[in-house]
Symmetry: none
Subunit: 205 residues, 2 copies
DNA sequence: CTTGACTCGTCTACCGCTTCACGGTTGAAG
DNA sequence: CTTCAACCGTGAAGCGGTAGACGAGTCAAG
């Protein structure tokens, strides 16, 4: 840089808003590589506010704020192209739309990973044992709940509250236990009834 | 192809082992694109056994068998380079090693996805509510267990029994609630201690 | 012999970077 | 003033796995 001396080390600010960084300092600050910043500049995600007379990139606190949002959205898994349009758009509707979409993508990726895990475990011949390691079945849950002092009435109340407070999660939970759809529907229906007008029902987990 | 007539439609086999496919038929059979097969050929994962005099690729049932293994390993998420060396190696130790490694990778990817999900939900402001449709967070579970009549002591006993009867599932369950690894470790340690020598511990879910 | 459906090999693009190559700038030391 | 190291710039290529476009060759049927 030249004698206008705009560039300062971030550790020694002279005037309150005139703190600026070179590309490498900026990269270290965010734990990313210089190349990544060059790439972000090239695709228009983050173009530094200024250049020195020699053409060096100069990042200021405005760029810091933008980079913090980029980092956050990246940790949500949003694509850089999407991040750019979100940052360049006005309201937060673009952001919300992108996040809702991302949520559905994550769900799909979870399912894809689970499939890969099953195939892998099958190939290893571990299907029976290892699958048990990380998933409880109905009997397992009953055993745990019983061992911690719950009786059948407690378990029924648990279903009722589960259905009342989080019906979607209740469904997902029962399915995850490998219970067949018909019985899932039966348990949920019975839990809903009991939630409306309390009467005894035979539903251990 | 020429008058030796090696190529037949897969639906009309004349001699028992002389069934052969063009690249596009082969691609359709496995639900992949021609480009993919060209790529597999170029990197040596699947080179068709023969060519016609005009240079057309000819896939036979030997190639079908190889492709079926490729497809299987791909569904486990193994990289193509790894698949090639597995197919070209002798025993099944290379396969087992690759699968064990893949299992650990899948685990890491699950955790990464879970982090992305949490960031996304936080950004959507949904963190306080019942997380996603089919996943409960810690507060949700506490609420349900409390509503069904469990107090903190019951919940602690529940953790202890969970840890004792199904430690792997306990780990998986806590992670699925989005609890950070350090706290997961703390809860499990506390549950193990209490399982050995019963003393009171402050661990609601 | 023409038509139309196939095939060929090669090239480009996607994602989010990383690495390399080559050269200019800067600041400090000798 | 020279030299050196450390920085900076641009541009291109590469990763994996797939999709698609291109012009040209090939095949079977009419």
């Amino acid at each position: 840089m030249t004698e206008e001396g705009a560039l300062e080390a971030p550790t020694s600010p002279r005037s309150e808003t005139q703190i600026m960084w070179t590309i490498s300092q900026f990269a270290r600050r965010f734990g990313i590589s210089r190349s990544t910043l060059l790439y972000y500049d090239s695709i228009g995600v983050l173009a530094p506010s200024a250049r020195t007379s020699a053409g060096y990139r100069v990042y200021d606190d405005h760029d810091v704020a933008r980079m913090e949002r980029i980092d956050l959205y990246r940790r949500a898994g949003l694509p850089l192209a999407g991040i750019r349009s979100i940052l360049d758009s006005e309201g937060d509707s673009a952001l919300r739309d992108a996040l809702e979409l991302r949520l559905r993508e994550i769900d799909a990726e979870f399912r894809g990973l689970a499939m890969q895990q099953r195939v892998t475990l099958d190939l290893l011949g571990k299907s029976a044992e290892a699958a048990e390691e990380r998933r409880l079945d109905k009997q397992g849950w009953v055993a745990i709940l019983r061992a911690s002092g719950m009786d059948e009435g407690d378990m029924h109340r648990w279903h009722v509250e589960f259905e009342r407070l989080a019906p979607e999660a209740h469904q997902g939970f029962l399915v995850s236990l490998g219970i067949n759809p018909a019985e899932v529907a039966r348990i949920r229906a019975s839990s809903r009834e009991a939630g409306d007008q309390p009467h005894a029902g035979p539903e251990p987990v």
